[in-house]
Symmetry: C2
Subunit: 193 residues, 2 copies
Amino acid sequence: MSREEILRAAARLVREEGPRALTMRRLAAELGTAVTAIYWHVGNREALLDALVERTLREFAAIHPTGRTPRTRIVSLARALRAELRARPHLIAMVHERGRTERLFRPVRQALVKEARAAGLRGARAAELVRAVEFLVVGSVLVERVSEGEPAGGAVVPGAGDRALERALARPPDPGRLFELSVRAVVEGLLGR
Amino acid sequence: MSREEILRAAARLVREEGPRALTMRRLAAELGTAVTAIYWHVGNREALLDALVERTLREFAAIHPTGRTPRTRIVSLARALRAELRARPHLIAMVHERGRTERLFRPVRQALVKEARAAGLRGARAAELVRAVEFLVVGSVLVERVSEGEPAGGAVVPGAGDRALERALARPPDPGRLFELSVRAVVEGLLGR
DNA sequence: ACCTGAACACCGTTCAAGT
DNA sequence: ACCTGAACACCGTTCAAGT
C-alpha cells in the first residue's frame, strides 16, 4: 500500500460520502489494512486532509482565461472558477475550513487582475472589479447549491401572484445563463464608470 | 436546569469556540450536570442543533427593508442580510449543513421579490435580480471572511506593479462600501434593461 | 522499511436505577 | 418529573512488538 493509494481512497470517500465518512478506521477497512499502517504513511488525520487540500490547490492553479477581449476573458475566468468550485463541494469546504481559501483563489485572482488592467482599470478600481467577480462566483455556487440540492428546494416563494417569477426562483431554467448575466452586469457596471 | 438554559449555553459554545466545541459532555460540564440530564431535556445532539438552527431562522425572519425607492430598499435588504450573516458564521454554517438555507433566505427573498416588482420587473427578470443580489451578499460574506480572517490573509497578490491595487486586494479599506458598490452595479445593470 | 494489536482518552447514546 | 452512573460502540492516536 502506497501513500498515493491512501490519498486516492481518502479522496474518493470524501467525494462520494462526504468528509464525515473519512474516518481513519473506515479508510483502513476500505484498504484492507490495520488502522495504524495508515499512520505510518501519512502521519495523522490532519496531515491526510492537508494532502487532499494541497491536491485541490494544484488543480485550481491550472485555471486560465479564454477569449479575445478582457471582458470575455473575465467572464471565462468566472465561469471556469464556478465550474471547479461546483465539481468538488466537500473538498472546497475542507480548503475553507483549513484557512487555505486565499491560496485557492490566488491564481484566478491574479488572472483577473491582469484582465482588469488590460481593460484599463487601475488601483482600487481594478481591485473592486476583481472582488465583485469573486463575490458573484462564490455566491452563485452556494445559492444554486441550495435551490438544487435542498429538500425544501421546491418550496415556493410567493411571487406576488407572478407565476413566471415563482417558477424562475424555485428552479432557474438555466443557472449558467443566470450566472453569466449577473457577471456581465457587474463587469459592465464597473468597467463603464 | 431548563431547556432554555441548555440552548443558551450551547449557543454560547458555538459562538465563542465553534461547533466542534459543542460536545454533549463539554456542555454538561459547563452546566454542572450529568451528560444524561441534557438528553432528558433536548432529546439528543441532533435535536439540540435543530433547536439552535430554528432560533437563527426566526432572527432572519425579522429582516425588513428601509428607504423610499425600490433601489434603496433593495440595497438596504442586501446590507441587512449581509450583516446578519456576518454576525453568526458558525450558526449559518450549521443552517447550511442541515439543509435549511432555503428557509433562512426566504423572508429576505420575499422582500426582494416585492421590491423587484415595485421597480417594474416581472417574471424571469425579477427572479434574476433577486438571485443576483443573493449571489453578491453570500459571496461577499465568504470572500471578505477570507481576506479578514485567514492566516495567509496578508499574502499579497501581484498586482502587475500596481501598489494601490495590491493594497486594495489584500485588505479593502472599506469592505462595506465595496459591497454596496457591487450591489448597486448589479441592480442598475439588471433594472436598466 | 513497513505492518500489527493492544491500549488510552475522547465521543454520542441507551438504560436501569434513583429521588 | 427530573437526574444519576454504568455501559456500549464508535472515534483518533500512541507505542511496543513483530517481519
